[in-house]
């Protein structure tokens, strides 16, 4: 289990490979990569991600431990960036490994749902027309109900 909350860019390539070579019981590896998007109508200049140092790590470690236990994962990885990010940059990488595919899929999905709504990160978008804090979505809160 590995967590990194970092300002500097990470390189998703190599992360799967690392996971890949860990354990002969691993049959399934799922990764999720979240990136900074830009809209054609209102192009994004950059995004600022603020977080709560200390609490961020604690919350994510708890979410990861819960996922490992619930889906009997062989391993899991979370990398989440903060600071200034431009369109096309990677924000978050989640990877899960398990014996069979269902577990790895569900656990990655679960980790993303909780990272979205329970880890203390806040995104601000800066465009030519101004800056605004990203609002939380009802849909993200509803997504959490799937895991009850």
């Amino acid at each position: 289990m590995k967590l990194s909350v970092q300002e500097e860019p990470f390189f998703p390539d190599g992360k799967i490979g690392h996971f890949s070579n860990q354990n002969q019981e691993t049959g399934a590896i799922v990764t999720f990569l979240g990136k900074v998007r830009s809209d054609l109508e209102n192009p994004l200049e950059y995004m600022l991600i603020e977080h709560y140092p200390g609490m961020t790590e604690k919350v994510i470690e708890k979410i990861m431990a819960e996922a490992v236990k619930r889906w009997n994962l062989i391993d899991c990885l979370v990398i989440h960036r903060y600071g200034k990010l431009t369109p096309g940059e990677d924000i978050v990488l989640v990877a899960t490994s398990s014996k069979h595919r269902r577990e790895a899929f569900e656990a990655a999905d679960y980790l993303m749902d909780f990272l979205k709504s329970r880890a203390p990160f806040w995104k601000k978008e800066v465009t030519q027309s101004g800056e605004s804090w990203v609002e939380s979505k009802e849909i993200d809160e509803v997504a959490l109900d799937r895991w009850k």
Partner: protein
């Protein structure tokens, strides 16, 4: 008691500081909020609407009724938008 109070996202911007030390006798988060609102217009405005306000007591999520007796760090922030 003295608690460290932290603000994030637009709460931080509205209040104007990321954190401060507050001398308080508040028992619940709501009591602390009432005290903060009295500190001035910026606080009052920031805490007008508390329906979607989030709070963490010593880095654990709580709610407006949570007991803060003995807490060292109270953080206020809007709903999280990570991932």
């Amino acid at each position: 008691m003295t608690v460290r109070v932290l603000y994030f996202s637009w709460l931080r911007e509205r209040i104007g500081v990321p954190s401060e030390s507050i001398e308080t006798e508040a028992v619940r988060v709501n009591d602390l909020l009432d005290e903060l609102r009295k500190k001035g217009e910026r606080y009052k405005l920031a805490f007008t609407q508390t329906s979607s306000l989030c709070v963490a007591i010593d880095q654990e999520l709580g709610d407006m009724d949570s007991d803060i007796t003995g807490a060292e760090e109270i953080a206020f922030f809007p709903p999280m938008t990570g991932g």
